[in-house]
Symmetry: C2
Subunit: 349 residues, 2 copies
């Protein structure tokens, strides 16, 4: 790799420079982009081979595979940026199967004119997030499109994780009587994006919760190997995740409003803006559905993990309110938490 | 799945409708998009589970993993569209390792306002291409961005293939004396995009060569198990692929102009427009580097395959012209085929 880095291109990229179409044409500048910006940050035996694909040794008979594109606007926001979001989001989707995420692909679509300082900031963030999540970026792609053909930068990551033989998670395992647990506070990410984008300022500043949940998941599986299902409530929030479960299982999902953990600043912003936190995206939280008998031990294990300190049992599964998500409010009334219909907030992730 | 299809949404999507931001917000319309447009086309046991990741049984100890984003403009062109290009491109990157591609992810970034007829045409094309290539789409993602924030539709696919134990391909295996083989004609895809985008018309209409090469690769590996390296000359064309090999191996790659297979219509367009076909993208061709002793039997096997009928030995590897790609012209002169520098043609794939 050292040899690759010292080729001595005639046109070094200066800090004040911007990405040009030539950086995406597969030629000299594309190679330079990879060698100067990608390899020093993401170097590993797979990526360094510079083939068009990574060849990976797989120690298990089962893998988990997931993909997400990230189009969040703005690309930098309190608590994170499009880079760590793109790592954590896909790591979390892989982890929700119970798998240990190991490998990521990284595909960038860059708008011509993106300053290299912004690109480097995003790549630094990707590097840091990948290291924290314990995943290697093993293959990638960079396209550059003309000004006006995309908005600054879009990122796709796909992830591969290894699944232990005894792990079987999925909506199909959920049963009436199961408890519903959330790993922490609701709506931090979505409210942060909303207020940042619209330049709203609140007394207590909001911050995205973007974080990799794979380690928390492994801790949870050690404490409660029979967890029935895990899912991260991103777009559409807790409301959408539980409605998906309700549709897939035919069961009812009953929530207690009093049990929902919500940061004061987020609660305040939601109240002022008239937004229901159940519908707002999270990027570092998961919902676990688990047998009632295992709920308390699972909760204890979660609360001992840095990313689960505010974990809470927020409701339970029942056989009565078929395919519905319901909420018992603070005043004791019960209402249906329907599937979100209209567009709430585009480009949240 | 039947149950999923019959949920009876109050707002059926009509053919004259367009994609809206609500189709990307993770709510009711997102679910509708998946159930009405994706599942009927791509249904398989993995995708149908509707989890955020696919769980895949892997029968081999090694997999190949690759990703590419597709931003081609125009999205429809003679011989293909962004849909089959996105399937074939990633299938080919996986196949170049010698792996048998099995699974694809499919991530769409759609510009608000894309007509559903265009989306359906692209999805039909993806379905057909996936079937032809023998791959299943097992996980996916759809984002919708505001008008003007992307150009119609961008697609990312990531692919996973299974590698047989005895297969070891890579630039590191290339040796002086090896023959360089191309599987067919040069520059069809790139010249098609260029002339279509600029509405140039030529007497003999050009057509993209987009095709899945995985079956050809398996045929080749049966005929010549010791192939040293395979790569598909996409962006940057044959010139870039061979320059990458030259940089990675430190060897020289000498081409014979007279041996390069080029369709007459492509040759004509290149001459009129002053474009060197060596630098133009291909989307259904591969370059094989193989020991001289195996070259003829490999060539015979390739020519017996529908996608290799015009395969040709186009040059050989030497230890003299270190790190250079050279071309002996029809007139007998030899020139260096350098790495492309300036932007040739953006958004070719």
């Amino acid at each position: 790799m050292k040899d690759e880095m010292n080729r001595g291109y005639p046109n070094p990229i200066a800090k004040q420079d911007v990405v040009t179409l030539a950086h995406g044409n597969g030629g000299k500048f594309s190679a330079e982009l990879i060698e100067r910006f990608m390899l020093p940050r993401f170097a590993n035996e797979h990526l360094n081979r510079l083939e068009d694909q990574a060849t990976l040794a797989i120690s298990s008979g089962r893998i988990a595979f997931s993909t997400d594109s990230y189009v969040v606007s703005p690309i930098f926001f309190p608590g994170g940026d499009i880079g760590d979001l793109a790592v954590n989001g896909t790591v979390n989707d892989v982890a929700m199967s119970g798998a240990r995420p190991l490998y990521l692909s990284l595909a960038l679509i860059i708008e011509e004119g993106l300053p290299f300082v912004d690109l480097e900031r995003i790549l630094d963030s990707i590097q840091k997030a990948a290291r924290l999540a314990g995943v290697a970026i093993v293959t990638g792609d960079t396209k550059v499109v003309e000004r006006g053909s995309c908005d600054k930068i879009f990122i796709n990551t796909s992830g591969i994780g290894i699944l232990a033989d005894n792990i079987r998670l999925g909506a199909d395992r959920i049963q009436a009587g199961d408890k519903i647990i959330i790993s922490g506070t609701l709506a931090d990410h979505g409210m942060t994006i909303l207020t940042t984008r619209n330049k709203l300022s609140f007394e207590n500043s909001l911050q995205s919760d973007t974080a990799p949940l794979a380690d928390l998941v492994q801790t949870m599986l050690s404490a409660a190997p029979n967890i029935h299902a895990l899912r991260d409530p991103t777009r559409g929030g807790v409301a959408m995740t539980l409605n998906e479960f309700a549709q897939q299982t035919g069961l009812g999902f009953a929530l207690e409003e009093a049990a929902l953990p919500i940061n004061d600043s987020v609660r305040g912003a939601c109240e002022i803006l008239g937004i229901d936190p159940l519908y707002v995206a999270n990027e570092g939280k998961l919902i676990a559905v688990v047998r009632a008998q295992e709920a308390d031990s699972l909760l204890t294990a979660m609360r001992n993990h840095p990313l689960g300190q505010q974990a809470a049992i927020i409701g339970e599964v029942n056989a009565e309110t078929s395919k519905l998500v319901t909420l018992t409010t603070l005043l004791g009334a019960t209402r249906v938490v329907d599937i979100p219909v209209a567009e709430q907030l585009p480009r949240i992730c």
